[in-house]
């Protein structure tokens, strides 16, 4: 009895400590892995966010302090913004750029949507060839199509107009490619059910497909809008004047022979970025969870 009493507690004392060691080791490793992961992500986030922060920080310094490298601008000043407002028609430039980017992205979305729907909902002769031709346009460098497009715009009398920037950009292989991939994985039964329920193909696209592709459409819209907003070369070629779109406005007025006006440039760029942030905030809430399959099974 005495032996039993003395020997029995021994493993009972040993076991919990072994478990604790094991748990401690695992916990430390997990913590380390999490810390390293978070560290890498934080560094990447900082690398992305810092240039934007620096742009707004510089724009908010007093014009004579733009070369100050202190991390926080103080005292805050809107001098650079009023300067930009006085020197260039920044409001009109942003509005023009917004209109151009919006029309281009809507056009590309529409073309992409219709083409992708045709490529996935039907089987027709030459389908693969046509699809490859669509996607193949992505591989053609801009410089190859630049001159023919320019000549065509000249003949159509669209040089120096916003339409000249928009029309050649209304179709994009990127939109077709991305939307086709999404539509290919769209539940076929939903399309068949809508057909059985009496909808036409056109009606199915707008009442069934589009409402369920909101997430990819929103994501694609953001990408297309930013692409169009950032496009510099083609507007510069077609418009040839600084008071048309914001990209050219900023260049024309701030990159002069006396060197760049960093304060004005940062303020102008800061204003030019706002619509992008707005679009992102507006659409990003749609880019959450694909819920298409929730109606199935």
């Amino acid at each position: 009895m005495a032996v039993a009493e003395t020997t029995a507690p021994a493993p009972a004392r040993g076991e919990p400590s072994a478990v604790a060691d094991l748990a401690g080791e695992t916990g430390a490793r997990v913590w380390l892995r999490t810390a390293v992961g978070h560290g890498v992500l934080a560094a990447l986030s900082l690398a992305c966010i810092f240039p934007i922060y620096w742009m707004y920080a510089t724009s908010l310094r007093r014009p004579e302090e733009v070369y100050n490298v202190s991390l926080f601008p103080w005292p805050l000043s809107v001098g650079n913004y009023t300067h930009v407002w006085d020197v260039i028609p920044i409001g009109r430039l942003i509005l023009n750029t917004f209109a151009v980017a919006a029309l281009i992205s809507v056009g590309q979305l529409l073309v992409g949507l219709l083409a992708a729907y045709a490529f996935t909902a039907w089987r027709f002769r030459g389908q693969t060839l046509l699809y490859l031709a669509f996607v193949g346009t992505w591989l053609v460098p801009f410089q190859v199509t630049m001159l023919p497009n320019y000549t065509l715009l000249y003949r159509l009398g669209l040089l120096n107009t916003l339409a000249g920037v928009i029309v050649p950009n209304l179709a994009s292989a990127l939109g077709v490619l991305l939307l086709r991939q999404h539509m290919a994985s769209f539940p076929r039964d939903l399309l068949d059910a809508a057909r059985m329920d009496g909808r036409s193909s056109w009606s199915i696209l707008w009442t069934v497909v589009v409402p369920n592709l909101r997430a990819p459409l929103a994501a694609l819209s953001i990408v297309l809008f930013i692409n169009a907003w950032n496009d510099y070369f083609w507007p510069a070629l077609v418009l040839q004047r600084a008071d048309s779109v914001v990209q050219l406005g900023l260049r024309g007025l701030f990159v002069g022979v006396e060197g760049p006006d960093w304060g004005g440039l940062m303020a102008g760029s800061g204003l030019a970025c706002l619509p992008i942030f707005g679009i992102y905030l507006l659409l990003q809430r749609h880019v959450v969870g694909a819920f298409v399959r929730s109606g199935l099974k």
Binding site: P187, D189, L190, D192, A193, A194, R195, M196, D197, G198, R199, S200, S203, V208, P211, N212, F291, V292, R293, S294, G295, L296, K297
Partner: protein, 398 residues
């Protein structure tokens, strides 16, 4: 009205024939189940009727009107999909009303009909929910609601219960039966589940490899399977199928295999042939005492018990008979243990014979000089002649 006629309906994908010249006449108000294993072409056949697939040949008639090439929307058929195919972005009410809105029905009318259907299917409290907020059974009911709101000529159902658990499936089967009785509509129903088929169908069309294997009432298909395929598909466990040989010995027609001896009837006029002997597990029972296997003796299968399974109310035993494994089931307890030698028997009425090469059922036609009642008594010996095919008079259907 909702009579559907299929006339030699065929669908080929390159060299693969998915549906091979199927002809069916589905009467108005009938509940016809297309039954078969996965890949037998039953869903393809349903989609051909729905118009979702274009046939390679044959015709589809609805109430005598050729709808072979009519688009799905113009066929006046409603379909319930295996995946339910509910529109994820719409509420239950809008899902159910979707077909009516497509037909530009006035809003008030849509609302009224949706409420009617919701009441019928007990979906009233769920009308404002979206599909992702519903359970499997509720989604299934919404899918049915979307089909019945149109009051179509016929319903097409593609394995609508396959995603439900066993208990819900049983309850929904009962609902379907009631719904069919209430609406009186024609239903063409696809399933691979024999229990669903046997319990719901007014007639079953068994499909194998794209071909119609047998068409009949559940009783006919179960009791007189037209082929080895049908016999082996229906039943749980399915029919025992043993390679055997029909021979005449000493003035008796017998079916013989290793450890199997079945005395059929007196006669010398039956040509010896290779057959498949079929006996359903539930028709086998233990021989109380080994009687004579000679003239007039009971069919006899001798074997050794391999395993006994508890099925709840029943037990199923697997016995090695000759080189084959024979299942038999009966009320629990069977009183058997693995390794125990057994002798099994069955009534002659429960013997099925199939041609070994074609797999088709062999029917035996009673000779005219014997009264019909004789054939139903194990004590009497039915003199008969063996025939190919099921179109001849079949024992168990009489």
């Amino acid at each position: 009205m909702g009579r559907i006629e299929l006339d030699g309906l065929t669908k080929r994908y390159g060299d693969v024939v998915a549906v091979d010249g199927v002809s069916l006449d589905i009467a108005d108000g009938e509940f016809l189940v297309l039954l078969g294993p996965s890949g037998c072409g039953k869903s393809t056949l349903l989609r051909l009727v729905a118009g979702l697939i274009t046939p390679s040949g044959g015709r589809v008639l609805l109430d005598g009107r050729d709808i072979t090439h009519a688009p799905p929307a113009r066929r006046d058929l409603a379909m319930v999909f295996q995946s339910y195919a509910l529109y994820p972005h719409l509420t239950v009410a809008r899902n159910i009303g979707f077909p009516l809105r497509a037909a530009r029905t006035p809003r008030a009318e849509v609302r009224r009909r949706v409420e009617e259907v919701a009441a019928l299917l007990e979906l009233g409290p769920l009308l404002d929910r979206r599909p992702r907020e519903l359970s499997g059974g509720q989604r299934q009911r919404v899918a049915v609601g979307r089909a019945i709101i149109r009051d179509p000529r016929a319903f097409l159902m593609d394995e609508p219960l396959s995603n439900l658990d066993a208990k819900l499936r049983q309850a929904t089967r009962a609902q379907f039966r009631m719904l069919h009785e209430t609406l009186g509509s024609t239903v063409l129903y696809v399933t691979h589940d024999q229990v669903e088929a046997l319990s719901l169908a007014t007639r079953i069309a068994m499909l194998d490899d794209g071909r119609l294997e047998q068409l009949g009432t559940p009783t006919e298909v179960y009791d007189t399977p037209a082929s080895v395929f049908v016999a082996g598909f229906l039943g749980s466990p399915p029919m025992n199928l043993l390679p055997a040989r029909v021979e005449c010995h000493d003035g008796r027609v017998r079916v013989l295999a290793d450890d199997v001896e079945v005395d059929l009837w007196p006669g010398e006029d039956v040509e010896a042939r290779d057959v498949i002997l079929g006996i359903r597990p539930e028709h086998l029972h233990l021989m109380a005492a080994e009687g004579p296997a000679g003239p007039g003796g009971m069919p006899r299968l001798r074997g050794v018990v391999r395993a006994v399974e508890n099925l709840g109310a029943e037990e199923s035993a697997q016995c090695a008979v000759g080189g084959a494994l024979v299942h038999f089931r009966g009320a629990r307890p069977l009183g058997l243990a693995a390794g125990q030698p057994v002798a099994l028997t069955t009534a002659r009425d429960h013997i099925h014979l199939f041609d070994r090469h074609s797999g088709r059922r062999l029917a035996w036609r009673p000779l005219a000089d014997r009264p019909l009642a004789d054939r139903q008594s194990a004590d009497h010996e039915p003199a008969a002649a063996l025939h190919d095919g099921v179109t001849t008079h079949q024992r168990s259907s009489t």
